[in-house]
């Protein structure tokens, strides 16, 4: 299996390449099918990895070394362990389902080839990111998915605000990208290697607290920006301008989880710095609560889900921060399933209501679209973590419960539990408003099998995938944590009375939330809903405040640089001095070459004499 790993990212990249070269010779429909085949082939390879090495994967493939200078090696090397295997399964399989769903969803739209090109490239980039065995290759994937995110958010670029949203997503994540690059530089300068394996060994052998702290903070900034955590979350709600399938793939299931993946991957670095993990946990818990509170007041169906994504990612960070990265990864997997489902479902809902995103103007869709209703409801169950019968109950509630028992975790637990209440509120408020209540007719829309199959698969997963790991003290399989233990260790688990208390608390939080949601939906229909709370509706005004403060400061800074450095320094010095100097020198030298053969011959003889003197002088 080792020597075939490159095929996993290779197929989607090949698809992007073929599309870009031969795309114009085929119809968009054919291109779409070709594009969907590629992640399917990747999925098959991933499946083969599961079959052959699933029990204890530890695969490594060194494809080739691009540059090797001193102790810097730009290696293309892939590594597959438990964490990677989970990530690539999500990226390839969910990626495939979304490609499949796109066939009908995007049919007849403009820019389909471009869409499939970026979608394929994205899946390839995501697979590289997760399979890389060194930080440099990870960064390549990191940047690739960032680029694709930008291009796909701005996919319908003919509308000004969509292009603007794409730019915003790009610029904000750019902050994190830069921080991550700096972190990689620091780690390399300190430990002279970028390979995870040797890097972690070097960190363990010789922890340099200062360098690790700075690098850790920078990595965290990178992860926070990519995963849309507070305060760099402001790009994600706007990125909903892209097609719903893009939101499902990039802004729910895969790219935004790259930050979580990075934190899990570089866990040894964070663990080496005291207090660092707690900061990650606090950041996650606060974001979880904050974004959930914003979610309850949104009226745009996709913005509800966007804030929900931010919030859910917060729980994953919380999982990493409290020393339970395997639970964080568990929730990542669960979230990928139900959030991709919800986004695709929302995409259909938007189509039915002819591009109207306002949930207040929807209602009673359950009669017209029973299949959509049941699958969507499965996703909502998972999002709200309905006890026992939804996957999130086993992942998210486990994180919240674990937060309670780790040192310094009580505060995090309170934040996370409050967040869980809000989560249940916005999840069911969304469901009640869209599918229950008085029927508001939209356009009839017939979902084809290409749409129903992905939704069905994901709905089943949203309910059932949590049963991989039952809480401690329950009968039932406990597969997930022991399977990950060789790599991530066993997280602390509550026991006894505390355990029961925590589980009851988590369940009660959800049920309270659902009850409030029922009322909230009624209020909303009556025109006096939560959306009237401007503070929550505008996401605590952070976006506006940031836009008010930072761009002007940045423009002023750029302006000063322009005046002082560019105009004053470079223009004067380079244009005035260097350029004219080179120009003069160039013309002076050229003047010696006037096309006359005698001049050329004498030049040669002169050169010869000078060379003679040089050689002779050296010998004397």
């Amino acid at each position: 299996m080792n020597e075939w790993l490159f095929l996993i990212p290779g197929f989607p990249l090949l698809g992007a390449l073929l599309n870009s070269i031969f795309g114009e010779h085929f119809s968009p429909r054919q291109i779409g099918r070709m594009a969907a085949t590629m992640p399917f082939l990747s999925t098959l390879v991933v499946f083969a990895v599961w079959m052959t090495h699933g029990r204890d994967p530890n695969l490594h493939e060194q494809v080739w070394t691009w540059i090797s200078v001193g102790n810097f090696h730009a290696n293309i090397g892939f590594h597959v362990d438990q964490v990677t295997l989970v990530m690539i399964s999500i990226a390839s399989f969910v990626g495939f389902l979304i490609h499949l769903f796109s066939q009908q969803y995007l049919n007849g739209d403009y820019g389909e080839r471009r869409y499939y090109f970026y979608l394929n490239l994205f899946v390839g980039g995501m697979l590289i990111l997760t399979m890389a065995d060194n930080l440099l290759l990870l960064y390549l994937g990191w940047e690739t998915v960032g680029l694709c995110s930008y291009a796909l958010v701005a996919h319908w670029y003919r509308k000004q605000e969509n292009a603007w949203a794409g730019r915003k997503a790009f610029v904000v994540t750019r902050i994190g990208d830069t921080a991550l690059a700096l972190a990689i530089f620091i780690l390399f300068a300190e430990y002279h290697t970028l390979n995870y394996h040797t890097l972690f060994a070097a960190v363990a052998a010789r922890p340099d607290l200062l360098a690790l702290t700075i690098a850790g903070i920078l990595v965290l900034i990178g992860a926070v920006a990519k995963s849309a955590q507070f305060p760099l979350h402001i790009w994600l709600p706007d990125s909903m301008a892209g097609p719903s399938t893009v939101s499902a793939l990039i802004h729910a299931a895969t790219m935004v989880t790259a930050g979580v993946y990075l934190c899990i991957r570089l866990y040894p670095i964070f663990a080496a710095v005291p207090g660092m993990l707690w900061v990650i946990g606090l950041s996650g818990a606060f974001t979880a609560l904050y974004a959930a509170s914003c979610g309850i007041a949104q009226v745009d169906i996709k913005r509800v889900l966007a804030y929900s994504t931010i919030s859910q990612l917060g729980y994953m960070f919380l999982g990493v921060g409290i020393g339970a990265p395997s639970l964080g990864l568990f929730h990542l997997l669960v979230h990928a399933c139900f959030k991709a489902l919800l986004f695709m479902g929302a995409g259909v809902v938007i189509l039915i209501y002819s591009d109207n995103h306002d949930i207040r103007q929807m209602g009673g869709l359950k009669k017209q679209q029973p299949f959509l209703r049941w699958t969507f409801l499965a996703g909502i169950f998972a999002l709200a973590a309905v006890p026992v019968i939804s996957a999130s109950f086993y992942s998210k509630d486990a994180i919240i419960a674990t937060a309670f028992i780790v040192p310094g975790g009580k505060l995090l637990w309170v934040l996370a539990l409050l967040g869980a209440v809000f989560t249940a509120i916005y999840a069911f408020r969304l469901y009640f408003l869209v599918f229950e209540g008085p029927e508001k007719l939209g356009e009839p829309y017939q979902m084809g099998w290409g749409m129903k199959i992905p939704l069905g698969i994901l709905a089943v997963a949203s309910i059932g995938i949590g049963w991989l790991q039952f809480p401690p003290g329950w009968p039932g399989p406990k597969i997930w944590l022991p399977w990950l233990a060789p790599e991530l260790g066993m997280p602390p688990a509550p026991s006894g009375d505390v355990n029961i208390f925590l589980q009851v608390a988590g369940s009660v939080a959800t049920l309270i939330g659902i009850a409030i949601a029922y009322k909230a939906a009624q209020w909303e229909r009556e025109g006096r809903g939560l959306s009237r709370i401007a503070f929550l509706f505008n996401a605590w005004f952070f976006d506006r405040i940031f836009l008010r403060i930072f761009p002007p400061i940045w423009y002023a800074f750029a302006h000063i640089l322009d005046r002082l450095i560019e105009q004053g320094g470079f223009q004067l010095m380079l244009l005035g001095g260097l350029r004219d100097g080179f120009g003069l020198g160039s013309r002076a030298l050229e003047a010696g070459e006037n096309g006359l053969i005698s001049r050329y011959a004498s030049g040669m003889i002169l050169g010869l004499v000078v060379l003679l003197f040089i050689a002779w002088g050296y010998l004397l």
Binding site: V69, S586, E590, I597
Partner: protein, 481 residues
């Protein structure tokens, strides 16, 4: 079998090219009127055949014809790349020559004889055979430059090249005769043995080395022996310019290997100093003057001078890695020039030479694919990663730093930055300027277009995977030192 003919099979590729050149000449004479493509097709077959023959010789080594010719890894590798270069020229040439009414067999015969000259230079182990090869190449080149005899600029360029070339040949020959006087032998390896007993401060030896280096520098196009280059590059038909910038440079590099390394490696310190001077002057002159050029062929000529400066860095290093990197640079330079001039060829049509930089204005709107290929070519010439030009520069810098000449590397890098200016200006013109109305339509030419695509993309691919080519260059340098 007598001693003279011992191992004559080592010279089979040379013999094959010689015979085939005559065959092409005859075939064109009798069939050329009816089958206009007979000469180029036969030429391509000749090159492929030669490649096969050379391929079978890989791994063998020894001398033949009483030490006149030598077969070693360098011979094989350099010859293979020479075939490749000539093959590309042939593939590029067809439409250009047709448009100008000079699509005749002679040009291919001359190309083959010039190639034979390069092959003899590459495999020469005796001052006589080396000189013969050089002159065979030079005479063919003079005729090629003036091939379009009705063109005033072309004949002028041919004459200039001839006069200055004769002068350079004289210098080289003078240096060789001094060397012969000093050592009493014409065979390169015997010269190397004899030089062991000569003190390096010997004035005659200094003269001999300087004259030989001057002759080589002329062929390479190193400043201050470069002045023919811009005029000839600009004046010659573009097909011929493409050739001038390709295989002959491999031949000139072979002169360094055969004369200075095989013969005069013991005198390394002496000619190293001369090469440092040549390198510095070439880097400055080439890169500075290129800035002011409006004509692309002229700009590429000066850029050639600059490239020769860079490749000389590897020779200055004087180590195996240095020579290998210089050889790598030479091959890369050949590929880049072929692509650069090939691009000009592709944009020309009857009465329009497309050799001004302004002719490339707005190319990205007129033909995006060509603009992209030209982008790769220019990036590669400027040494921007991930193109192979970056690797070539990196390799020579590494070699020269390893040899202890950090200051030379610093100057090289600075001038590479200056050089980037005029390469990137072409890119800027292609992508940011509006096309000029007189640019007119681009004539369709599938053969040349496909060749150019492969050629340019090779610059990118080799930049991403430089290992095999570099290993090949190291293989070529086996046994040279």
């Amino acid at each position: 079998m007598n001693a003279f003919l011992l191992h004559w099979t080592f010279a089979i590729p040379e013999i094959w090219v010689l015979i085939m050149a005559c065959v092409v000449l005859l075939a064109d004479l009798y069939l050329g009127e009816r089958l206009r493509d007979v000469a180029p097709v036969l030429t391509v077959l000749t090159l492929l055949g030669a490649a096969v023959l050379t391929f079978f010789e890989l791994g063998q080594s020894g001398t033949t014809f009483a030490g006149l010719l030598v077969l070693d890894p360098f011979t094989n590798v350099a010859e293979l790349f020479s075939y490749l270069a000539v093959l590309m020229v042939v593939l590029y040439s067809r439409r250009y020559l047709m448009d100008r009414g000079i699509y005749r067999g002679e040009i291919y015969v001359l190309l083959l004889f010039a190639l034979l000259g390069v092959m003899v230079m590459v495999s020469g182990a005796n001052l006589l055979s080396i000189y013969l090869g050089l002159e065979l190449l030079a005479l063919s080149q003079y005729a090629l430059v003036a091939f379009n005899r009705d063109s005033l600029v072309a004949t002028e360029a041919g004459l200039k090249y001839f006069v200055l070339g004769a002068l350079a040949s004289g210098l080289l020959l003078y240096g060789m005769s001094l060397l012969y006087g000093l050592t009493g032998t014409l065979e390169v390896r015997h010269i190397a043995a004899a030089l062991v007993n000569v003190t390096s401060s010997n004035l005659i030896l200094v003269f001999a080395l300087v004259f030989i280096v001057a002759g080589i520098a002329f062929k390479l196009g190193a400043a201050p022996f470069h002045m023919w280059l811009p005029d000839v590059y600009q004046g010659a038909p573009t097909v011929v310019t493409t050739f001038l910038a390709s295989a002959p440079k491999i031949g000139a590099f072979a002169l360094i290997i055969r004369l200075l390394v095989d013969g005069g490696y013991g005198m390394l310190e002496s000619w190293q100093q001369i090469f440092i001077a040549l390198t510095l002057v070439s880097l400055v002159v080439g890169n500075l003057i290129a800035i002011a050029q409006q004509n692309l062929k002229r700009m590429l000529a000066y850029s050639t001078v600059g490239h020769v400066g860079f490749l000389s860095l590897g020779i200055v290093a004087g180590t195996e890695a240095g020579f290998a990197s210089a050889f790598f640079y030479t091959i890369v330079y050949v590929l880049m020039s072929l692509a650069g001039f090939g691009m000009i060829l592709l944009l020309t049509r009857a009465g329009f030479e497309a050799d001004r930089i302004d002719d490339f204005k707005g190319l990205s709107q007129r033909k995006p694919w060509y603009a992209f290929l030209m982008l790769i070519i220019m990036f590669s010439m400027a040494g921007v990663p991930p193109t192979v030009g970056f690797y070539a520069k990196l390799a020579v810098f590494q070699a020269v730093i390893a040899a202890g000449y950090v200051w030379l590397a610093v100057i090289g890098v600075l001038l590479a930055v200056i050089g980037a200016f005029y390469y990137l200006r072409v890119v800027k013109v292609m992508y940011f300027d509006a096309p000029e109305p007189e640019s007119g339509p681009i004539v369709r030419d599938d053969l040349a277009s496909a060749t150019l695509s492969i050629n340019s993309l090779a610059l990118l691919v080799l930049g991403i995977v430089p290992g095999p080519l570099m290993a090949f260059c190291f293989y070529a340098m086996q046994g040279v030192i």
